[in-house]
Symmetry: C2
Subunit: 449 residues, 2 copies
Amino acid sequence: MISREDIVRDLKEFISFPSVSADSSQQQAMFDCASWLAGHLYEIGMQRTKVLPTSAHPVVYGEYMIDAALPTILFYGHYDVTPVDPLNKWDTPPFRPAIKGDYIVGRGASDDKGQLFTHIKAVAKLLQEGRLPVNVKFLIEGAEEIGSVGLEEFVAQHKTLLRCDAVVVSDTKMVGPGQPAITYSLRGSVKVEVTLRTMAKDLHSGTFGGYVPNAAIKMAEFIAGLHDKDNAIAIPGFYEDVRDPSPAERAFVAANGIGNAALMQEAEAFAPWGESRFSMYERISSRPSLEVTGITAGYQGKGFKEVIPAVASVKLNFRLVPDQEPGRISKLLEQHVRNEVKDADVKITYGAVGYPVIIPRNNFYVRAAALACEKVFRRKPRFLRNGGSIGAVDYLYTILGVPVVLLGFARADDNMHAPNEKFYLPDFFKGIDTIRQFLQLVASGMPKA
Amino acid sequence: MISREDIVRDLKEFISFPSVSADSSQQQAMFDCASWLAGHLYEIGMQRTKVLPTSAHPVVYGEYMIDAALPTILFYGHYDVTPVDPLNKWDTPPFRPAIKGDYIVGRGASDDKGQLFTHIKAVAKLLQEGRLPVNVKFLIEGAEEIGSVGLEEFVAQHKTLLRCDAVVVSDTKMVGPGQPAITYSLRGSVKVEVTLRTMAKDLHSGTFGGYVPNAAIKMAEFIAGLHDKDNAIAIPGFYEDVRDPSPAERAFVAANGIGNAALMQEAEAFAPWGESRFSMYERISSRPSLEVTGITAGYQGKGFKEVIPAVASVKLNFRLVPDQEPGRISKLLEQHVRNEVKDADVKITYGAVGYPVIIPRNNFYVRAAALACEKVFRRKPRFLRNGGSIGAVDYLYTILGVPVVLLGFARADDNMHAPNEKFYLPDFFKGIDTIRQFLQLVASGMPKA
């Protein structure tokens, strides 16, 4: 029997690698962590364990094939973590994991090393007992926190290796303490930077103030025109492909989603915002959004500089819902810029794009996951739509063409991406049990929900 | 006789000090330059030469009093220069002045070491010849390029020392080659930063995108509302104190000012901008202006970050005309912010303010300067209004209560504040002659214009 102490000891070792994918000085730690992880998969009895290169950080792979006729589950997770800044806000060193009461504390405790370990340790137990009931594969990437760079190409190149019947991801949150959640929808994403130039060079704000076009003002006018009076996106044609939720789906979302009060509390915003004819939860799930993520113009240091900026730029982030398509949204934006911005040179550059994803809730694997949750947590899971985008989910769903089950075990206050990141150990062990139940339900052909 | 060679040699020595007031690592060079300058005033025969402390860089003072009953002219200039960046764009080292054809090249060649030297060398010649006809004083500051920090207090504290009948400043440009100019009006200035906070913290643009108030968007809307459709300033009450120029003054400005084509060529802007019912020259001289000098919000690095900014700030620069008052403009802005910006914490901070200045053109000293120009350049000077603000002029005019004559000898293409700053030597020597003529005209009680 693998003891809880052994499991926690292994998790602490995993967390102790400073595998910060965004930090180029941690290249060695990234390799060490990937090697350790591949070794760990080997130790628990996995086959064909290896570290595979990508265009960014390497991927760790392992599998255990019992019988090609049985279903195959692909577990996806990531061993990279976010930077630890501000370091002085941590009560204990981020890469020296500590047990505090019922929590394990450290960078990656919940995002995603701890949650990934629910998969690994469930499989380890079943292997040790000789009771693994289906085929399993692991795909563990090292670049999730920097946008899953290289993963799309990797999945496309290794389609055969990764062939499976469903993907399971544990990198999301539960709704509240003791209340499990399955995420079945993610928004797509278009990131774009628009740069305007109105003059050959910056000019003096005194000598020239009043007769030349200020790029910062022109940019502000452009941004102010991106939303209408009800905060809907004012780009012509933008909503054409937005799938109207059926009354049934709208009712389901209302019943399962999160209420305005809870959302406002989480945001700590001074006032609500957005399209008034939709609930806040709908605004971040069934509706697309457009946020300004950065504006740069003129002088930004201390004090003042007497300058009329010749150049201004804005970073925009669109979030898309079915059936919006990133390429079409880009075209609409470009047309809108041409219509609205006169007398300026315009440059438009794009970041990574992602497609919106919606997984049918009545899919067999989703229902198996829901029943597994119910057996372990003694509560039916809530079905959530998430306003964010997970690049890996988009790629796995699109390229492998199988359902992706997003089964999160983290709590809202686990400080993901923040100092003192933690993971509630009782949920960690329930997560292991849930994954185990899930695999057994998949093997047994679970009863209809 | 002081030879032209001696004068150029002295100017080269003056320029060779890297007296960059904005660069704290050049503190020693600032002191060395001030000491050298005080010594130089002593060498040419000035009395009571000294280096006096201010709250910023020291001031150099010197005087030559012939007879308290005679008029006293105070020459103002500055020995500090702007930073030399980008250094790689200089053809010769900025602090190793070089003679190239008819030009002297180096940082400070025209702004303001060369122009100041027209005063010093005119006085030097008259002293050497024993023909100085009026009392003269020099006030040479070391902080002009950083906003004349400390000068207002210095002038107020040394009112008696600085007592005079007129101030002469040579820190402006001529209209064109061979065409002298006297600047008789400057705009005032209010610099202010407005910071908005809409949430306790930045939020994720996916998870929260669509229901929380984005500070960058709110800021863009605020900025877009600062000007109306005809680009007039949309702050209620803003134009109440703007003095309407008389038809005579408007005609004078039209005849003396700079045309739209020349202004557009100078600006290298892709299109004109501003209040259509005024000429471009009027927009930068008799009309106030409001420019955005900087916007900061969200992520400004390379690539993209998934963030909804909780905070955004804008730096604004108002330019004021008679009879606008900085304190009243600040109050109007604050009221406007209260009216327009809802559901946000607002912080407003101010930089240095300056009052608009207009010197009567028919003043005796202005007329003497004009006649001196005409005698030397063989052309009547053009009378200009300048859109900029010169803090020192504001302080000297307001505190000493005497006319300030702005008599510039630089050319438009002298690269002030830019690489390869230069000064046209024939104009430099004409400048010396003009100052000499001016002092003689003041002494003789020149004929009516």
